[in-house]
């Protein structure tokens, strides 16, 4: 005990020894900080490079898109004239054997129904839409009169077919008929800012027969000029796509992208704001890690 106290006392009195100890400790701390800082950062950057090397993205296909998917009514049709005899609006959502039937009203024997349709503006922005199409698949028990498709014009606040590519109506044959109209460049008057449209089906005029109409399908779709990319991630890491380049001899156009492709997956990526040029072109896709996938077409 006495020896220990004596050594402590002599150590505290030996200033040169104490200062040497402090210098050594401080130097050690500094060296450790430098080494750990550099090594940790080096490790992180090596990991970044390693991840980049493991990324393998390919563009397996590129196709032009000219039409959106069909948008169908999500509620029952409103019967302005005539009445529903069987089925429901659900039967008019796909082309199949099920249908919804309506019968013309008692004299003056006419039919006038309208449904609500909404274009998905999240995927097809108003800026990317060039026109709108309406298609009707129907069958009637009286082929003696024409049938008309109209839409609500938000500017004139009335149902109209003004500006449609066909305003003459459709004369049905026996069996199922397809009738489609294009709203041409007047489409914007018929589509509200939130993508909503009211579409009307009506007969030509009162006649002697109370016609029954079976509607198998009624839908609207947007006419667009877009691209459907198919990406394949053959690497072991999820890939984040950040840029799409569409190049040809006269232009190099860049589009921002924000899409993820999981490891080992094939993903379809639709863009209606990207248009492919005519003739030869090259498409490049850039990932966040800095890799590039290319595709030539045309």
């Amino acid at each position: 005990m006495r020896i220990t106290i004596s050594r402590q006392r002599s150590f505290s009195q030996d200033r040169r020894g104490l200062s040497n100890l402090i210098i050594v400790v401080l130097s050690l701390v500094i060296v450790v900080v430098i080494v750990s800082n550099v090594f940790l950062w080096s490790y992180q950057m090596n990991q970044l490079d390693w991840e980049k090397m493991q990324e393998t993205l390919t563009i397996s296909n590129i196709a032009r898109i000219t039409r959106s998917s069909w948008f169908v009514t999500q509620s029952e049709y409103k019967e302005n004239k005539g009445n529903r005899t069987s089925g429901s609006y659900l039967d008019t959502q796909v082309v199949d054997s099920s249908y919804e039937s309506f019968k013309e009203s008692s004299p003056p024997r006419t039919l006038d129904i309208n449904g609500t349709f909404t274009i998905d503006l999240a995927n097809y922005s108003l800026a990317s839409i060039q026109s709108v199409e309406i298609q009707l698949r129907y069958r009637v028990d009286d082929t003696g009169e024409k049938w008309f498709l109209k839409a609500y014009n938000w500017a004139s606040r009335a149902y109209s077919d003004n500006g449609f590519n066909s305003t003459a109506g459709h004369t049905p044959a026996s069996g199922w008929n397809n009738y489609a109209v294009n709203l041409t460049n007047q489409w914007r008057s018929y589509v509200r800012n939130d993508g909503k449209m009211f579409v009307k089906v009506q007969d030509q005029q009162p006649d002697s027969t109370r016609t029954v109409i079976d509607i198998d399908f009624l839908g609207v779709r947007a006419v667009v000029n877009g691209v459907l990319f198919t990406f394949q991630n053959k690497g072991s890491r999820t890939t984040h796509l950040v840029s799409i380049w569409v190049n040809n001899s006269t232009q190099h156009k860049r589009y921002s992208a924000d899409a993820f492709v999981n490891s080992g997956e094939t993903m379809s990526y639709q863009r209606v704001d990207v248009s492919l040029p005519n003739g030869q072109y090259a498409v490049k896709v850039i990932t966040e890690r800095g890799n590039t996938a290319t595709y030539s077409g045309g």
């Binding site: 200062s19 900080v33 380049w245 001899s249």
Partner: protein, 133 residues
Amino acid sequence: MLKMWRNNRAITPVLSNVLLIVIAVAGMSIATTATYIITGNLRETMGERFIAEDVWFTTGKIAVYLRNTGKTAIDVATLYVNNTAQSITSLHLEPLNHGWLNVTYTWTANTIYHIKIATSRGTQVADYYKSPT
């Protein structure tokens, strides 16, 4: 009190210890600051990564689209075409940022050019690009 002031041998060890501590702390602060500065520069240099997303040959001009894929901001210092430095307007890119770098250059059609981009810290990206016909 008077006794303590007269006892010079008691004050000297206290003063010397305090001085030693002050000097040690000051030295440590200087050393730590220097360490951060030195390793900070080293770290930024190590953290630089960028790519040339696209190279576009237009009339009398070569445009290179750069993307900063690293962990630190970069300043593009020079662009070399066939190992000859070209005058550029400065381009600063934060991590994940991207932008065009334009160089006035009279290129020849259907010719291969070696284009090298260097940052102010010395990181380089270089590749061969063929001009259009």
